[in-house]
Structures are given as structure tokens and as C-alpha cells.
């Protein structure tokens, strides 16, 4: 049979494709059939938090930090309750990471504060002596892309049925509504911060990256 195939590239390619595709078919199809359901209390990210997640992705935080707590005592003692599939139901893309050069962040909102993040992002080794994390001062001057975060949320709502604007869920509304709401949320974060230029920027209707990022990190619980 192999001799026969090796002289007929077309059938060879077909056979090859079926052999390769087989595993993917068996593994992926059943899981999609019962797409993961949100756990009770899981909410989609607000526009500001999504803008923060975009900052997280832009600076590839996931290159060094995981968001996946494995079911071991040493992990639950360190990071909190192990991760559940449903908690990621609105995580698009997933940002589990594959390497812990730094600690896990899946529940960082439970044990770090706005103030801590502010100092830490400016100069990590001042907060955690010996830290090898880069400094991220540019996040204090660059503005977060709230418009794209809105488009992001609206795509999730329109295309994937993520329950924005439902009862008890974050409101989205029009771009104008969402922008106003994001600024409102940003003010709450900035109120806990010390950096004057960030506070001024928020007062002037801007959202520095650091504010959005902290909103996102605080939402990880």
C-alpha cells in the first residue's frame, strides 16, 4: 500500500491529511459541542478592564505571568482557589501563559491593591527587592485605547452573545455611553493613586494605560 501511495502524490496527500487531522477532530469537536459555561458570578469585563487587558497583552505580561492556578495545595496556598473552566468563559483570548518567570496573576485582585500596583509598575525592584521585572513607566504617560476596548466588547456582545447590558451585567450601550462609563471607572481607580500627572490626565478625560491595567488586575479574583 505504501509503495502505491508513494507513486500517487494526490492520494498520498489525502491520506496524510486524514492521518494528521484525526487527532484534532477527536479532541476538539466534543469540547466545542459543550462550549464552556460561565460559573455563577462570572461577569464579562467592563470596557475599562478590557482596555487594561489590551495593555496586558500589548506588553506581553503573559510572557512571564500565568493566569492558571493548578489544583495543588502549594498553588492554592500561594495564589488562592484553583482555576475553574467557567471562570474563563468571557476570556477572549485566553491569557493563561506558559511560563512563570513571575508569579501567577489569576486572583491577583484578591491580595494586591491599586497603590501596590502603581508603585510596582513604576519600579518593581523598589517594591519587591530582587525583582527582575522590567519597569513600565511608559504606562503612566501612554493613554489606553478605550475605543478599541469598546469595539472589543461590542464584538463579543454582537457576535458571541456575551451578556453585556443584561441585568446585573456590565452596561455597554453606545460608544458615548461606554466612554463616559469608562472614564467614571477610571476616576475611581485614580482616586486611590498618588501620581499627580495620572490624576490630572484622568481629570482631563484621558485614561492612562496604568489606570486601565490596574482596573483589569483588580478585576482578577
Amino acid at each position: 500500500m505504501f509503495h502505491w501511495l508513494e507513486q500517487r502524490p494526490f492520494f498520498f496527500a489525502v491520506m496524510l491529511f486524514l492521518t494528521v487531522a484525526f487527532a484534532g477532530f477527536i479532541e476538539i469537536v466534543p469540547d466545542f459541542a459543550k462550549a464552556s459555561q460561565p460559573t455563577v458570578g462570572t461577569k464579562p469585563f467592563t470596557v475599562l478592564e478590557l482596555a487594561g487587558k489590551q495593555v496586558y497583552i500589548k506588553d506581553s505580561c503573559n510572557a512571564c505571568h500565568s493566569q492558571l492556578i493548578r489544583p495543588f495545595k502549594s498553588e492554592t496556598d500561594r495564589y488562592g482557589m484553583y482555576s475553574l473552566s467557567g471562570e474563563y468563559a468571557y476570556d477572549r483570548p485566553f491569557v493563561w501563559g506558559s511560563k512563570r518567570t513571575g508569579p501567577d496573576l489569576h486572583r491577583v485582585g484578591n491580595y494586591r491593591t491599586t497603590d501596590w500596583h502603581e508603585n510596582h509598575m513604576m519600579n518593581p525592584s523598589a517594591v519587591v527587592p530582587g525583582s527582575i521585572m522590567p519597569k513600565y513607566p511608559h504606562m503612566f504617560t501612554n493613554n489606553a485605547d478605550v475605543a478599541t476596548a469598546y469595539a472589543n466588547a461590542n464584538t463579543q456582545k454582537s457576535l458571541f452573545g456575551v451578556p453585556y447590558d443584561k441585568e446585573g451585567m456590565p452596561a455597554l450601550g453606545s460608544w458615548e455611553d461606554a466612554k463616559a462609563q469608562a472614564l467614571e471607572d477610571a476616576k475611581k481607580v485614580a482616586a486611590d493613586m498618588k501620581n499627580q500627572s495620572v490624576k490630572d490626565a484622568v481629570a482631563n478625560g484621558q485614561v492612562p494605560e496604568i489606570v486601565a491595567l490596574i482596573a483589569y488586575l483588580n478585576s482578577l479574583k
Binding site: T19, V20, E87, S98, K99, P134, A147, T148
Partner: protein, 490 residues
């Protein structure tokens, strides 16, 4: 043209891809060395503002070496090996020649665009699939062009039976096409912006959470399979027998190893998700199939080693053979190491630690890097029609790089296992013994050692680039093509 006449092969596209293999190799490896030094000396992360941080540069390194260096090497060798084992020349078809040229140029513009977008922070965050949707579309175009050239060339062949190397190249084309398409299913968000001035480059994944992770590692693991494994096997199946003048040891073993690899490899993706939230049976399947994978992997490697049966003396006389045998040996090492890491209890310690990049690098530096360079060394006298410039330089490069790789993986083994054990250490009262930062500072000496190892490898690569450059410009001109062993000046 008669089938027994000497065919004149066309190497213009081979040369172009050879240049980019070297160019992107230097860039990708240089960034890798910078990253390694940044982990050892973190101040280096803040020399270029937001554009020089570890996190921004990391995707440039991974994409640069995987899709810059390795893919270039794959395409260069495909256009060389393809013409030869199929007994056809690109000169015979204007259409295929155009397709091949277009393939090169579209590929060539993609890489700088990738670097620029990644350094700006435009990324999807999915590993080895970071590029945003417009670039993904561009990649689809040149991938299809590669397929057209491949099947076009196969269609024009004079050799009825297609050689093992072609099976492997074909598998890379087909599998990567499938994996890439499914993993990069992404929706540009600008179409739902509702009037908000959003970014045109931004997209989100079609899949969420656990499903996204599943598709990502089904892709991520098998990108390794079909970029770092199968095309490299394709190379060794052609270049080792050719350079050594030996027949491949066993046809049956090639068939077994090929179909075995094709069937088993895709299952193993699940081993990236052990103890995650994907269904248990997939994790177990990923773990078990990873162990099964040793069989076809070692099948190919042993087939190659046995090809040298009775001819081991060549190891002493030819650095080129040395590169290929070392590559094959590193392939055996990393294909036994991977399955070990995929065992659940080992994975509990190894996952998330530096043992993983350690494992990746003994595969990529030892197996992929050595084999691609050996292929280029073998091709150089034939495409430039000149003698290789310096054998002693090859020897120096070989040892420098081998020492570099050994420093790299040994330091990462120690770092990974140290950290994995420290994360789970308890004191007598049942409290965690170490805070996270303790497990970071302890790694400093290993990070430094790794950076030095990487630097050795990079220097070796620069020697390689210099050697090829000198071969091209001032090697002794050959009057006829060498049949087997590549001629080299001492």
C-alpha cells in the same frame, strides 16, 4: 528533455532563501541573547523605553527564529531538495518560477512587518501566533504559493516514486495550513466599533477561555512538530545520505517512523495543558501519546545514525557530518526529554519553569539549528559552485556552539527543577517555605550561565555566516559539482 540528461537546476530562489536564513538567524538569535541577559541583569530591560523590555522583545525572538530563520531554511532546502529528488528544474516552468519568486518576496516583506508590529505591541498574545490579522492574511497567501509550487513541482516530476524528504515537506505544508487556519480564526473588532475610533489592527479570538487554550496548544505544540521537526527530518533524509555517500539504512523504518509520527504527534498537544481546566481525558491522552511519540521520533533518528554504519570515520574527517550526527543526537535527546516532561507527576514540577525553555532550546539549537546550518553548508558549494571557505572555522564553530548548547540546557535543567521544587516546599508547620521572589533570585547564576551559552551559540552563528559569505565571494571555483562529500579548504 530526456530523463537521462543532466538537468540544470535553478538555484535563484534557493539563494534568496539562504540569505534570509542567515539574516533572520542573526537577528532572531541576537534578540534571544539580549533576552537571556535581561533575565540575568534586569536593568538591561529598560535601555530602550517601552520598546526594549523583555516582554516586547520575547515574541520577536520566538517568531524571528521560528518563522524567520527556520522557515527560510525550510524553503531554501525545499527548492533545492525538491528539484533534485523530483528530477525537475524550475527553469522548465515559467509559472512555477514566478510562483516561487512571489513566495519569496511576500515572505520577505512579512518578516520586517512582523518585527515592527510586535515591537509596537500589536499582538494577539497567542504564542507563536502573535501576529495580527492583516499579517495572518499575508501569511496565508505565501503559504498557499508554497503549496502551489510544491504540488506543481511534484506534478512535473520525472521520478515516479516520491522520496521520503518530500513526504515530510508535504506534511509540513498540509499540517501547518490546517493548524494555522484554525488557531488564527480571529475577528477584527473594527467592524463592530459602532462609531468608536478603534484600531483597525485589533482582533479577538473566535474561541474563549478553555476552548481557546485547547486550540492554541493544539496549534502551538504542532507548530513545533511541523516547523521544527518534520521539515528538519526532510533535510536530514536528503543531506546525510548525500553528504556521506551512504544509503538510508532502512526503507521500512522510514515508512513506520513517518506514518507513526503523523498519527501520533497531534495528540500530544494536550501535554501543554496538564492540570489546567481542559477535560481530564485530553490531558491524559496528551501525556500518554507523548510517550508513544518516542517511537516514531527515535525511529527516524536511529535510521539516520545507522545510515552511518561502518562509516563512522567520516565523523573525524568531515565537520559537516559532525553537525548532522550531532543534530540527530540532539533530536533523540529532546524527544526523550519532552515525553518525560509530559508525564503528569513530572509535569507538575516542570510546567511553568525554565526547564521548558531549556527543553525547547536543546531541540531548536541542537537539532534545528545544526541541521539547517549543515544543509546550507552542503548546498553552498553546489549553488555557488565554489569550495567551502574554511574547514577549521567549521570545526571551531561546531565546538563553540556545542559547548553553548550544553551550557544552555544544563543551566535550565537545574534552574527549572530548583524552582519547581522550591514552589512546592513546606516547612514543618505546614507553611510555604519560600516566597515567590526567593525562587527568582536563586536563579541568577543559572540565568547568567544560560546567557553565556546563548552568546557562544550566536558567535558560532556569526562564524557560520562569515564562512558562507567567504565561500560565496572567495572560495575556490569548482569546475564540476561534487558528488558526495562537500569540498572544503582547510
Amino acid at each position: 528533455m530526456q530523463s537521462n540528461a543532466q538537468l540544470e537546476y535553478d538555484y535563484s530562489v534557493v539563494k534568496l532563501f539562504t540569505f534570509t536564513t542567515i539574516l533572520f538567524g542573526i537577528i532572531g538569535m541576537l534578540v534571544g541573547v539580549i533576552l537571556a541577559f535581561q533575565l540575568a541583569f534586569p536593568e538591561l530591560s529598560n535601555l530602550a523605553g517601552e520598546y526594549g523590555t523583555f516582554s516586547r522583545l520575547r515574541p520577536i525572538h520566538t517568531n524571528g527564529v521560528a518563522f524567520g530563520f527556520t522557515l527560510s531554511g525550510i524553503f531554501a532546502t525545499w527548492y533545492y531538495v525538491g528539484q533534485r529528488v523530483l528530477k525537475m528544474s524550475l527553469k522548465e516552468s515559467k509559472f512555477l518560477m514566478t510562483v516561487a519568486k512571489l513566495h519569496f518576496w511576500l515572505y520577505f516583506i512579512t518578516i520586517p512587518l512582523a518585527v515592527v508590529t510586535l515591537i509596537m505591541g500589536i499582538t494577539t498574545s497567542k504564542e507563536y501566533a502573535e501576529l495580527e490579522w492583516p499579517l495572518d492574511l499575508l501569511i496565508v497567501v505565501w503559504w498557499v504559493l508554497w503549496g502551489v509550487s510544491m504540488f506543481g513541482m511534484i506534478g512535473m516530476r520525472r521520478e515516479r516514486t516520491i522520496y521520503v524528504s518530500v513526504w515530510y515537506y508535504m506534511s509540513s505544508f498540509l499540517a501547518v495550513a490546517m493548524l494555522f487556519l484554525f488557531n488564527n480564526m480571529e475577528v477584527p473588532t473594527m467592524f463592530w466599533a459602532n462609531g468608536a475610533p478603534s484600531s483597525a489592527m485589533h482582533s479577538i479570538s473566535m474561541y474563549a477561555g478553555t476552548n481557546d487554550a485547547l486550540v492554541q496548544w493544539w496549534y502551538g505544540h504542532n507548530a513545533v512538530a511541523f516547523v521544527f521537526t518534520t521539515p528538519i527530518i526532510a533535510m536530514i533524509y536528503y543531506f546525510l545520505p548525500k553528504e556521506s555517500g551512504q544509503n538510508v539504512f532502512s526503507y521500512k523504518l522510514s515508512v513506520l517512523a513517518f506514518w507513526g509520527l503523523m498519527f501520533v504527534y497531534l495528540w500530544a498537544g494536550g501535554h501543554h495543558l496538564i492540570y489546567s481546566t481542559v477535560p481530564d481525558w485530553m490531558q491524559t491522552m496528551g501525556s500518554a501519546m507523548s510517550v508513544v511519540l518516542i517511537l516514531p521520533s527515535w525511529g527516524s533518528a536511529i535510521n539516520m545514525l545507522l545510515t552511518m554504519k561502518g562509516e563512522w570515520g567520516q565523523l573525524q574527517t568531515s565537520p559537516l557530518i559532525k553537525f548532522m550526527i550531532m543534530a540527530s543526537t540532539f533530536y533523540m535527546l529532546s524527544t526523550i526529554e519532552g515525553p518525560i516532561q509530559a508525564i503528569k507527576s513530572v509535569n507538575a514540577i516542570a510546567h511553568f519553569t525554565d526547564w521548558i525553555p531549556g527543553h525547547v532550546h536543546d531541540g531548536t539549537l541542537g537539532w534545528v539549528g545544526f541541521m539547517v546550518m549543515a544543509a546550507l553548508f552542503h548546498m553552498a558549494p553546489r549553488i555557488f559552485k565554489r569550495e567551502l571557505y574554511s574547514k577549521s572555522l567549521m570545526e571551531t564553530q561546531f565546538w563553540l556552539q556545542t559547548v553553548g548548547i550544553v551550557l544552555y540546557f544544563t543551566s535550565m535543567w537545574i534552574a527549572g527543577i530548583t524552582q519547581g521544587m522550591m514552589w512546592r516546599a513546606y516547612d514543618e508547620y505546614g507553611s510555604l517555605l519560600y516566597s515567590f521572589i526567593d525562587t527568582v533570585t536563586v536563579l541568577h547564576p543559572y540565568y547568567t550561565l544560560r546567557a553565556v551559552g546563548g552568546l557562544f551559540y550566536l558567535i558560532g552563528f556569526l562564524l557560520f555566516a562569515y564562512n558562507i559569505f567567504k565561500t560565496m565571494t572567495s572560495g575556490r571555483v569548482l569546475d564540476k559539482e561534487p558528488a558526495n562529500a562537500s569540498p572544503m579548504a582547510s
